[in-house]
Subunit: 195 residues, 4 copies
């Protein structure tokens, strides 16, 4: 059935995420992904045409989802502050929901520009974030003197660096710490460091 097939495909993809998270994309062999999924060598190629396609699929699906969520947030009927808080929560909570996936995304970020032709969901998500900022400025909720694009990039960069710290074990990531981090980062970005 298609269901069976979908499940197989999903197993392989999850296996790829685990393997990539463990060793990084480049050091991972297709055979290891197959072994992790408990399937034969060639089956990976049956479902995914190539090794790179595995990574691309991981990026595409994740960012598609991300885009969807950011758009929902964008369309939600709240203040810009709340929206930004929601975006931060979305990004940072991903670490606890699916650390392996986040690990792959963080480790392979630099590959995304190469995949970006294909994965333009990434650009769209960034654009949505930018619109949130811009709208906030129009509404008078956010400072109008900052470039919205730049601000949204800085905003996302701050979040991603926190994820990076967690992924590489250089920032504490227990439940309390992550919850606090979320509050703090948002507070920092909204209110600034100044006393």
């Amino acid at each position: 059935m298609q269901t069976r097939a979908r499940q197989r495909e999903h197993e392989i993809l999850r296996a790829a995420i685990r393997v990539f998270a463990r060793q990084g994309y480049h050091k991972s062999k297709v055979g290891e992904v197959a072994a992790e999924a408990g399937v034969a060598y060639g089956l990976v190629y049956h479902y995914f045409g190539s090794k790179e396609s595995l990574l691309e699929t991981i990026f595409r699906r994740t960012w598609k989802q991300m885009l969807r969520f950011v758009q929902e947030i964008e369309e939600s009927d709240t203040t810009s502050q709340e929206q930004l808080r929601a975006v931060a929560g979305l990004v940072l909570q991903a670490w606890r929901l699916d650390p392996e996936l986040v690990g792959v995304l963080v480790r392979e970020v630099t590959r995304s520009p190469q995949l970006q032709n294909e994965v333009d969901e990434i650009a769209h998500a960034f654009a949505a974030l930018e619109r949130i900022v811009a709208r906030g400025q129009e509404r008078g909720e956010l400072r109008p003197d900052l470039d919205a694009r730049l601000a949204s990039w800085a905003f996302y960069g701050a979040l991603e660096e926190i994820l990076t710290g967690w992924v590489f074990g250089r920032l504490p990531d227990d439940e309390e710490a992550t919850a606090r981090a979320e509050q703090m980062v948002v507070s920092l970005l909204l209110d600034g460091l100044n006393a």
Copy 2:
């Protein structure tokens, strides 16, 4: 002479930076580095034991320099705000000073954690930035309620993301834009997005 040797080594390292910036570390072949430097294949191995060692050296030297600068800033007799502004300037101006080097650093960030055992200058630089923040809090110049480490990571992340945007041509990077970006990011991080 040693001078000759140092020069040779430097030529090869610069060639590596150019090649890595152009094609990325993984797609770059050692032979291409040699050709770019105008030297024979084996000479790369004479000075650097391996391809990876080239990258490691690039990271190590850059971060060593970075660390030195951040420490200078840390010890400078100014407000924390000025110090943070200086750090931001240091990071962001690197793009105009040496775009190829920044390109390599940005593209291969995710390799640095793997190199981090060796390149602990990175950790030291982060620690120095953290101390700047902590000192600012003690002095009452910066908000005391934010975790200094987290804040410094977020701060650096915001800067790095801007660099990333420039490296991948997704943010405008003409002289005016970069100068303005510098002002804005600092303003954003110090004063926040809130209106």
Copy 3:
């Protein structure tokens, strides 16, 4: 099928023996082995993990076989003299049965000690030969005043040197000559050179 696989493996091993016999292990390239076997480059690595493993397998299998034969001889119900004669026949007749294999073994003997951890069949075969001598001494068939281990080493050394002479074309190896050599060496070792 496994049969197919075994056959492939065997073809590659025989090809390796031919190539190694022709040019020596060190001058032989893995690609030449593949070409000789009529298979692709990587298939050699599919069946054998490395070039050295090819040689090790050759040694191991040959000496396993050798050990088996020597043990049969040891357990045979004849005089020690007959047993030693049989061992000599076994060793020397190998040259006519499989000159290429003998060529490899003789040329690469000095590698065997390095492989000896793995190929302890060699040590076992030597031990069996030593037991034959020791038993002969106990039975009063052989001189009791010689150290059995030393005698068995000298015995084997004499045989191997004859093989070496044949391999390098420095001793005549036509059928008659080899047959006579067998008689003579045994006679020399049993009765001595003295008139």
Copy 4:
């Protein structure tokens, strides 16, 4: 001075023997020989044209010496038995006199045929040994029914195998054991194994 030069050359050669004995010819690098001799890279090439030439020189000089000794023995005014005993002593005592040199010779025997064009002292030494046997047969001191060449090869083979056992630590080689081995091997080869 020439004396100085000779000394240098000798130092390098001895260094090569040590290094080759330690790791085998193939795994030894010219640089290691230079380092062991305490001289610069290129000086090895100044005195010896190539890596192989080092080995060749080792073989050539040793066998030249060996040839000289065997010829002396051949011309000595004693029985064939005494002459063979002397040859055995010559070969086996080499182990205690210069174990590193013997190690190289034993490990690289199989290279000698390739060097044999150059090093025909080896063939000459074998020929001298053969003449000793043949003369003994003419004199009625040794059995006339054995082929002299074959017998001399077997004789030498027995000796070399003992050396091999010592080199690879598989036969006891303390002073007493080596002295006894010498007696035994000669006794074995002259009188045979038979009771």
